[in-house]
């Protein structure tokens, strides 16, 4: 069982969360060339090691989080709110 330290709720089992995928993906402008969109939609680095990823605390505070996790060892790193404003408010 992975445990995720939600910045709002504290340490919770991962079964309270829903996985949202690679958090390093950035989408291009709407009118960007198709190749850029194809890259963003389909291509992943899929690292064997440290991975930055989205988790939704769907059975908790319902916040989207950015979690650093090692995909080989499942070691957990930093957990922050995905929403930049929330993340800043918590830091402040």
């Amino acid at each position: 069982m992975i445990r995720i330290n939600c910045p709002f709720c504290g340490m919770r089992d991962h079964s309270e969360f829903s996985y949202g995928g690679d958090a390093t993906v950035t989408y291009p402008e709407m009118d960007a060339p198709e190749a850029e969109w194809a890259e963003a939609v389909y291509q992943r680095t899929n690292p064997r090691g440290p991975h930055k990823e989205y988790w939704h605390h769907v059975s908790g505070c319902r916040a989207w989080l950015i979690v650093e996790r090692n995909t080989l060892t499942h070691e957990m790193g930093a957990v922050t709110f995905a929403h930049a404003g929330l993340a800043k408010a918590v830091e402040g």
């Binding site: 069982m1 079964s15 190749a35 389909y42 992943r44 690292p47 064997r48």
Partner: protein, 457 residues
Amino acid sequence: MVSRSPLLANYLPNNAMSPAGPMTILIPSSVMERAQMSGYSVWSVLREGLRGQTGWDRAWRDPQPKTEYDVVIIGGGGHGLATAYYLAKNHGVTNVAVVEKGWLGGGNTGRNTTIVRSNYVQPKSTEFYEHSVKLWENLSHDLNYNVMFSQRGQLGLFHTPAARDAQAKRVNTMIANGIDAELLDREQVRAMVPHLDYSENARFPIIGAIYQARAGTARHDAVAWGFARAADQLGVDILQQTEVTGILREGGKAVGVETSRGTIRAKKIGVAVAGSTGHVMGMAGIERLPIESHKLQAFVSEPLKPLLDCVIGYGAPGAHFYISQSDKGGMVFGGDLDFYNSYAQRGNLPIVQEVAESALAIMPCLGRVKLLRHWAGIMDMSMDGTHIMSKTPVENLYLNAGWCYGGFKATPASGWHFADLIANERPDELTAAFSLDRFERGYAIDEKGMGPTPKLH
């Protein structure tokens, strides 16, 4: 006509021709002699029975790596070994090495739930998986190795009228493509498998099933060993305990591999390492692929007396489950992915609970059965749920990947078409559909219609 040893020729049925039609193969006479010497037959079993099992040869050689091969296949699972076998058998390319970092079939080949079927709906997938089932049907004879392919039939249960409509469409699509399929109602399913939960208050009421009689299971280890032995007899070098640590490139072309046993040069390199595709392709400078690695757990119970003589699967909101009984008696079953990227070949307890709940929802008689083992394998989950078999941006480097849940059943056809791609340096009409660039061209083959979210395929 396929050339075979006299011993094998007697042993093979007349319909042993491959589905792709007649072909000529080129095998050096010394190799054929060795093949004749160690062919398995009823007579060799009887002879060894009388001699105390002392006369068996090892099933394949343990050679030293040569400094150069025509083709190096990275990955000694079912797909890599099948590729090497068909390179030698179908294309006469015998100067081939299969490079495996662990032992044969120690990855996903030995970790799946061994189900073989061809109940697909997308045009190229139906063709591909049906070719695979046809190869399975003669595989034991072809390899002279009993892969224990058992066409015990597969039932895909459905629980709602909407699911019934979807499966009726699937049946029609399969029949239109020359694949056997039947739509069964509740009573027909009950007659076949009376010990499912048919009660009115079942969590997933069974209203019928899609049935493919030619589907079934095979012994996964035997598939790796059978392909390894048959490839070895055709001259292929199988290099176990040989980890690839780098892919050599010169002027944009792949020219060899660095391994834990030294440098091996190669005119062509095939990568068949599903689960670790991103890691290995990264060695060739290809850092991004339309694949995520996810883990999938599987389970086996203590051995039981005969309880289930077919494969059963079902998918419903909140549950996904498939089960069969091995020849040893263990109930072999599995469910969904763990749903997050992972390269860890180990599972976790929430999935154990989910799969157990799914099992009991449909087969309450399993309630007191003890679990013997559970384990995990790493799936290459592709962006459209379909595999990738393709040339790559690096010349002479070929990729076989992205099998999602479905790699085991594809093993023979995967080897067949990947060998064809490597030998002829161009995809055949079928393989062209599975190219790496299909996503950017807008030709994704999305069997389940889930879009570019790998964990949902």
